[in-house]
């Protein structure tokens, strides 16, 4: 009954894992990955407005690739 407000713990687990697994795949700590993500957002924001909560970093193994998915804010011009 009182659990209504609690977030699904499976979603929490999935979010934690995604960050952790991506960090370990490129051999850096989750904290550093978060810092890098913030820096990427900051940098891109200088040029295009970014949807900050819709940015994700993933890592692919072969060939080793870092993929940043960055959602851009809708403006009257890029609709």
């Amino acid at each position: 009954m009182f659990r209504g407000k609690r977030r699904n713990t499976s979603t929490i687990a999935k979010d934690r894992l995604r960050l952790l697994v991506n960090a370990e795949r490129i051999d850096c700590s989750p904290g550093i990955l978060l810092m890098m993500k913030k820096d990427i957002i900051k940098t891109v924001n200088k040029y295009i407005l970014v949807e900050e909560d819709k940015v994700s970093l993933t890592f692919k193994a072969a060939p080793p690739t870092l993929l940043a998915t960055i959602a851009v804010k809708k403006t009257p011009h890029n609709r």
């Binding site: 699904n8 713990t9 499976s10 979603t11 687990a13 999935k14 934690r16 894992l17 995604r18 952790l20 697994v21 370990e24 795949r25 193994a61 072969a62």
Partner: protein
């Protein structure tokens, strides 16, 4: 054409040995000639899960050191004596008594006799893991839907890939559909999404597994949900296209009513 498959996980206690025993049993029931090799030197377990612990005379290290012939060390299974065999591990030695080259040679020797050679890998990423992986051309990575097990599975998949393993498939063990439905356990899709690897099957958390292990009789192929799930995995190993089993427990109204927890 025979195939060497390693069953691995990184994290301990996720069900590697149970999985190996049940897949071996399932493949044997489907008419294949199978040998299970326990590569966990110093901590053997597969013998008790198979219920063959009292029949061990020689072991893996004896074979590798030439103290006996390969056939002398193979133990016939109780249920499928013509199809299923166990090569037990040594209990009083350590992992450094075997090298990856020796394991490769052993797997090659076994290939002439068996359709499937299943290697039960020890937990961890050290020598024992390297030994077990050396001779295999296919890996089944076992995980549970928990953060720690999935993290280790990802590490193992990375190590296998960098080792040149092409054929890596995932088994998700101990799923509890009631918890998945509540949103308190990651689903099969969630786990596959994170690990980005092919799924070969999911096995429910089933008390029949404990009962079967107590008796030393794998349950692959029986009427239990886990038994069916294991048999489906075996069929997929053989290349059949089988849809994923519905893991939701079918409970009768009265059973649900009287169930205490």
């Amino acid at each position: 054409m025979s195939e060497v498959i390693v069953v691995t996980s990184g994290k301990g206690g996720v069900g590697k040995t149970t999985t190996t025993a049940n897949i071996g049993c399932g493949l044997a029931s489907l008419g294949k000639k199978v040998v299970l090799v326990d590569t966990d030197i110093g901590l053997r377990n597969l013998d008790v899960v198979m219920g063959l612990e009292n029949r061990i005379v020689y072991n893996l290290v004896d074979v590798i050191e030439g103290n006996c012939r390969l056939k002398q060390a193979l133990i016939k299974d109780k249920k499928f004596p013509a199809q299923l065999f166990l090569l037990p591990s040594a209990q009083t030695r350590d992992k450094s008594s075997v090298t990856p080259e020796q394991m490769k040679k052993l797997c090659e020797d076994l290939k002439s006799e068996f359709d499937y050679i299943l290697l039960d890998c020890p937990a961890g990423i050290e020598q024992g893991f390297k030994n077990a992986v050396a001779g295999a051309s296919r890996a089944l990575v076992v995980t549970t839907p928990e953060v720690s097990a999935i993290r280790d599975a990802d590490r193992i998949i990375g190590l296998l890939e960098s080792d040149g393993m092409r054929n890596i498939q995932l088994i998700i063990n101990r799923l509890r559909m009631d918890m998945v439905k509540r949103g308190d356990m990651m689903s099969v899709e969630d786990v596959v999404d994170i690990l980005a690897v092919d799924l070969i099957g999911a096995v429910p958390d089933d008390e029949n597994i404990v009962i079967a292990t107590n008796q030393g009789e794998p349950l692959a192929g029986d009427t239990s949900l886990a038994g069916q799930a294991y048999l489906n995995i075996c069929r997929r190993i053989l290349g059949e296209k089988i849809p994923l089993l519905d893991l939701t427990e079918k409970k009768g109204f009265f059973r649900r009513l009287f169930k205490k927890s």
